[in-house]
């Protein structure tokens, strides 16, 4: 069988489990957007142009709080700054692709497509560009269309989602599922611990800047343990 096809299907299967929380979460966005006063066009435009749940909910909250436009924009954008790190991390794997393909990868770069792909790529050091793009596309196809479709359903059907579903936990559980398989060496665990401790300690910083500081320090901590620490993790081949 064509290997690109195999990796595409693996990516699609890799993305499917996220739908368990992504579907209720996008329904909730549709419902809340309409409650906040956005019309159907605005609700769909936000899901199609931004495709970033946490940032979209932040924007709704700030509109509801009647925050100034510029404050709403900066705050909602800051939530997405972590994606610059995803972009750099993926550039190491997909940087050889033509610009138009990288432009499409950028549009669909969300936590789930990034997390599923980076674990897959790192587990398979010899994987070629075509196969990496195939896996990524599969994950995108599993995750992204559902975001638009269920935003629409939520905005149109618009009934309250029962509080018993505890959907506030949809975001944490998704991120936990993404990060757990990454805890594969002392360096990775150290980076994760530094990230947790600093993110909590710096939670007072405005615009979510604490997370960025925490993430920067955690990356350095991981790299330091890898360089000087005991029991070096296996070296990965350069892509």
């Amino acid at each position: 069988m064509n290997t690109a096809r195999t990796h595409f299907l693996a990516g699609f299967r890799g993305g499917l489990p996220f739908l368990l929380v992504l579907i209720p979460f996008s329904l909730l966005f549709g419902v809340l957007a309409v409650e906040t006063g956005l019309d159907l066009g605005q609700t769909m435009a936000m899901s199609a142009l931004v495709i970033a749940g946490a940032s979209q909910f932040t924007a709704l909250q700030l509109i509801a709080d009647n925050a100034p436009l510029l404050v709403a924009l900066v705050t909602a954008l800051a939530v997405n700054l972590r994606m610059a790190m995803y972009s750099a991390s993926l550039a190491a794997h997909l940087g050889h692709a033509p610009l138009w393909q990288r432009a499409l990868v950028a549009y669909t770069l969300v936590d789930q497509t990034y997390g599923a792909s980076i674990t897959y790529f790192q587990d398979r050091p010899g994987l070629g560009l075509r196969d990496k793009l195939a896996f990524y596309s599969g994950a995108v196809l599993a995750v992204c269309p559902a975001w638009y479709v269920f935003t629409f359903v939520g905005a149109v059907a618009g009934t309250a989602i029962p509080e018993a579903l505890a959907l506030d936990f949809a975001v944490p559980v998704t991120f936990l599922a993404l990060v757990a398989p990454q805890l594969k060496s002392l360096a990775h665990v150290t980076a994760a611990l530094v990230s947790v401790v600093l993110a909590l300690a710096l939670a007072w910083m405005p615009f979510g800047l604490g997370l960025l500081v925490a993430a920067g320090c955690a990356m350095l901590a991981g790299a330091a343990v890898e360089t000087w620490g005991p029991g070096r993790p296996r070296q990965e081949a350069r892509p």
Partner: protein, 110 residues
């Protein structure tokens, strides 16, 4: 529309947020392309997932908005369960189902 937000302002926010977010995503993918990065940078980039995601989760797990920011035993247990199942099985489905399962069980029991 609530408060001072008019039709036009909402559209301006959507457009600017969409464009800004896209530029953030494109940043390194668009600019670096196939240029080689220094080994030290590559080493740091290997830790992006473990540097970003735990820091995102921590405040949401410890100070959940659903309980007014008070630590909640059910959510802490569910965090531990999702992490343990995910690390042991490397299964996204297992971590999500296990985490939400423990959360519902905890909310029902506690």
């Amino acid at each position: 529309m609530s408060g001072g937000w008019g039709e036009l302002q909402v559209w301006a926010l959507i457009a600017a947020l969409g464009l800004g977010t896209y530029l953030i995503r494109l940043s390194f993918l668009g600019l670096i392309g196939d240029r080689e990065l220094p080994p030290f940078v590559m080493r740091c980039l290997r830790y992006v997932p473990v540097a970003v995601l735990p820091g995102l989760v921590a405040p949401l797990a410890v100070w959940p908005a659903a309980t007014g920011g008070q630590p909640d035993p059910a959510r802490l247990l569910a965090t531990g369960a999702a992490l343990a199942i995910g690390a042991a099985t490397r299964s996204v489905l297992g971590a999500i189902v296990g985490g939400m399962g423990v959360l519902y069980l905890g909310l029902w029991l506690l």
